[in-house]
Symmetry: C2
Subunit: 347 residues, 2 copies
């Protein structure tokens, strides 16, 4: 079936057109809160095995589209496939999150591949190619990568860390070696996103989950500049590439970020003040966000009130409804149904 | 020795006067990074025993003044003495942080004392009375409390928690019971601060360490409104009371906070963008902050550069140099010496 990009609400929003009903998708919409996801996950030996199995990864990408009718599907994968494709050992132990061979010394960075190995990532591209023709004509397909800073925090620490202390300390103590790592990740990410577009995604999101822990100077060096280079690198190959930035926790840095990073849309976390965002951010870019995932988990009056507040603040201009971070695994499905119905004006 | 408040640089800064050399103190300046602190801590059975021992608490309050010559001493205590004085069981296990009997159900809030028990807190007031006459004439004495939201996150969860999920969920699910808890803490905190002033502190800081995890609406209800009521309650008794607010992570909420909370100064975390703060916050209030504690731990060029950037941004207007959060236990003493010398223009 031929699809008409102009008719897809998500792509209209990225082109700064306002939809009468805002498009909606949810970060981590393919995930553990869905019984059909858990059934497939149980069949695979590890989380990475699922990411690298095109048939099953395509299936879990499509599950939330079939169940909820979201306006976008997002490739099922993980930001840590990039360190994997750079030669770092990455595993996911059940219930423990990612484990990597930590880059403890500057010399460890020299042992990474200087360029990303697209052969390792071929299953990701095949997943995209499988999903695209299965989507309803109004549903856009999103790819993604982690931003260099966020990916580097895992590569340095070897795991998820509160406040990302190991990476921040490494960057203070070894700024040249850290800049080298960021450079490798910047090149790798741009190349990875170009291949995702070639395989069939229609827009991508750059997740900078841990952007919020950096002081202004480090935010400029390790978040703004690398992501600006990724956007430029992707658009050198694909001039019309649509890109969403998500510098979680950027807060007062958002105007600086948007002054330097020409993304089409900006994902806002749930802590961002609504009138600040409406008055100072939405005139510059399409806004995506920013429901507290915990309000979705809680449901009831708290969910309705939070949903209405976001629609009221952002609904009058180009806008994509989303959470302010990934959906929590314990979220009841009925709350997701309620949210979608409310955003679409049915309840 | 009679002291002249006008001559104390910290009090001048709180009165919106600019000092040629900005006053400096550091959050958690009395603490584990000091060998003389560790020596005293080893003599006490528990952390709370130290907080409630006026002789030893006074001694550790004074230690960093003697060693470094900071411009302010801050009472050695903990924000969780307030739940203790409301009847909740609080302990600190070595290396594990605080443990409280978690308030799991709305009914648990009914079992708290409706008013704070000042008899429980008498050792704190005695500590203040012991410290004040020991301070050099230019050094101000600060008291403090935790803001109701931040204290409530520990009371609900029973311990420190990433993203403060239990308290946020409790507030979504049981808004009336949570409001009752916040009311109790608001009254208790105002009363506690009034007693601290009566005992001899010259200014207080209200620590809202976990303010940054709340969406706009919840930030207004659980952070802004209670802290505004504390400030009003304290000033009803002590009209000239000097108060510093520290809503860590408030970011884009800072203008809302300052529009509603008449604190004299605002403590900024290290993630706050410097030009935003200089242009939009410093015209409204004296700024206190905002060095990354990890830059102090790292030292070297990273520390000097971060220090200089803050002095350049804020030094031209009323300003108090501080960290953006508490000093880290592994911080070398030589780095603290270097920081103070640089702020005072000696290196």
């Amino acid at each position: 079936m031929a699809d008409n990009p102009v008719a897809k609400p998500l792509l209209r929003a990225l082109a700064r057109e306002r939809n009468a009903v805002p498009p909606i998708w949810l970060m981590r919409q393919a995930g553990r809160y869905l019984p059909e996801y858990r059934a497939i996950r149980e069949k695979t030996a590890s989380f990475l095995d699922l990411c690298f199995n095109p048939k099953l990864a395509a299936e879990v990408t499509l599950q939330p589209i079939r169940r909820f009718g979201f306006d976008a599907a997002i490739l099922f994968s993980d930001i840590l496939v990039v360190p994997h494709a750079l030669g770092q050992h990455v595993t996911f132990e059940a219930g423990e999150g990612p484990q990597l061979d930590a880059l403890k010394e500057p010399s460890a960075i020299e042992r990474l591949r200087p360029e990303i190995d697209h052969v390792e990532l071929a299953p990701v591209y095949e997943t995209i190619a499988r999903v695209r023709p299965e989507l309803p004509p109004s549903v856009a397909l999103l790819g993604f990568c982690g931003a260099p800073w966020t990916v580097a925090t895992y590569m340095i620490a070897g795991c998820g860390t509160p406040d990302q202390l190991p990476a921040r300390l490494f960057a203070y103590r070894h700024p040249q070696a850290f800049a080298k790592l960021i450079d490798i990740l910047t090149e790798a990410s741009a190349s990875y996103l170009v291949k995702q577009f070639a395989a069939g995604v229609e827009a991508v999101q750059i997740f900078d989950t841990w952007a919020g822990v950096l002081p202004a100077d480090e935010f400029r060096k390790w978040c703004i500049e690398p992501v600006a280079r990724i956007v430029a690198g992707v658009r050198e190959q694909i001039p019309t590439a649509r890109i969403i930035g998500f510098p979680r926790g950027a807060g007062t840095e958002l105007p600086c970020y948007l002054g330097a990073v020409p993304v089409d849309a900006i994902g806002l976390d749930w802590m961002t003040e609504l009138s600040f965002a409406r008055d100072q951010i939405q005139p510059l870019r399409t806004i995506q966000g920013n429901l507290d995932p915990l309000a979705l988990l809680a449901g009831g009056a708290a969910l309705d009130r939070a949903t209405d507040g976001i629609l009221e603040a952002f609904g009058g201009s180009p806008f994509i409804f989303n959470l302010g971070h990934g959906i929590l695994p314990d979220t009841p499905i009925s709350h997701v149904e309620r949210l979608i119905a409310r955003v679409r004006g049915h309840v």
